[in-house]
Homo-oligomer: 220 residues x 2
Amino acid sequence: MTAVRLTGAEGRRKVGAQIRQALRVGDLAPGQRLVEQDLADDYGVTRSAVREALMDLAADDLVELVPRRGARVRVVSVAEAVQITECRAALERLCARKAAVLASPAQREELVQIGAQMRDAVAAGAVDTYSGLNRRLHELVVQASGQEVARRQLERLNGQMVRYQFRLALRPGRPAQSLPQHLAIIDGVVAGDPDAAEAAVAAHLDSVVEQLQAADPRPS
Amino acid sequence: MTAVRLTGAEGRRKVGAQIRQALRVGDLAPGQRLVEQDLADDYGVTRSAVREALMDLAADDLVELVPRRGARVRVVSVAEAVQITECRAALERLCARKAAVLASPAQREELVQIGAQMRDAVAAGAVDTYSGLNRRLHELVVQASGQEVARRQLERLNGQMVRYQFRLALRPGRPAQSLPQHLAIIDGVVAGDPDAAEAAVAAHLDSVVEQLQAADPRPS
DNA sequence: GTCGACGAGATTGTTGACAAGAAAGTCGAC
DNA sequence: GTCGACTTTCTTGTCAACAATCTCGTCGAC
């Protein structure tokens, strides 16, 4: 590797993105120590850049920053994952309700398409495709609601959940179970029925909480 | 002022707290530019400390950090304040519901006392006292819910609202209007009735949204 | 054999100087 | 008199060295 050492702001953004990516993929284990100099060498940036990137990540609760002791990948317990999902539910219910009223025709159209594609993906057993559509669905509902504040909060919350979402999607039978729930959300929003949309989102995320607890019945 | 120049972590915490305080009180106007060296001199810390403190504040959306152009106190429009309040409502509803089930006897007792003190404060026209009790009430409900994730999110949201909360509390007749709503929240939680508690919180924050929009009918 | 003190190495925290960029003020041309 | 280019000044961004602290391994005493 004879990569040029990136300088400055560019480097800082790069490190942040790289670490986030590594967390998503699972290259960085929860609890793992993150040594500034090592990261700087790995990514070819200076320690300052790494330092600022770590502070960013800590602000998003992705890493834990202990003074004089460095950074560790934050471990989110099942109990905390449940709390995060409860908050997601609270915020997404709000968004679903508003989206049912405010969504543009184009957005409603995309929702319908996502629903059809989800059906196909489940029928074909395409887990990855389904997972991507799932993300897009939630994202689109939030966008359509116009609730920017909620959008930012949800982004942060979702960032902390990647590990669990991944594990959840892989459970056999899970897509078949969540498909009707997702379709209900789509129906509610497309039909312009706030109550139905909200109820569908609530039911869906209740089911996620249930699955989380079933995955690890022992609250740490 | 011959104050010793604080060093390091201590300094960083101090600056953060000082700036937050200044924002609360209104010493720092929205949109005002924050020059790193000036703050460093004012508070007797190094520029590095100020820099890190500003990054913290930016993570909480209290200041806006424009590359190469420095930090400004973030302006939150009425429209955004409404969105923030909607998110608060979503999260506090969740907390109220859980608090109604989970609150300890001691916490229920304190809620009852806060209710009584609020009555007295309104009768006496003690706006500041009432405002403090208001804060404590919301805080206590969140604490009693055990929802730590929601607590952190609400803390962040409330930090952005200080200016509006302040202006709202000063509107004549506002305490008399919100008192019954607060008492309803207390009743719901103390009685252990999740539905009632949630509904009371929802009604209260709907009323806050209404007041916000009345304060400035023009969405920016 | 275990516990505790000591010391070497590793890691983070802090600082000040320097570089790069933006804003403001000045001068000249039209 | 006004507009635009240039220069000056101010401000932020970057970096590398230094200092403070922590961790871990080693050694010795009981």
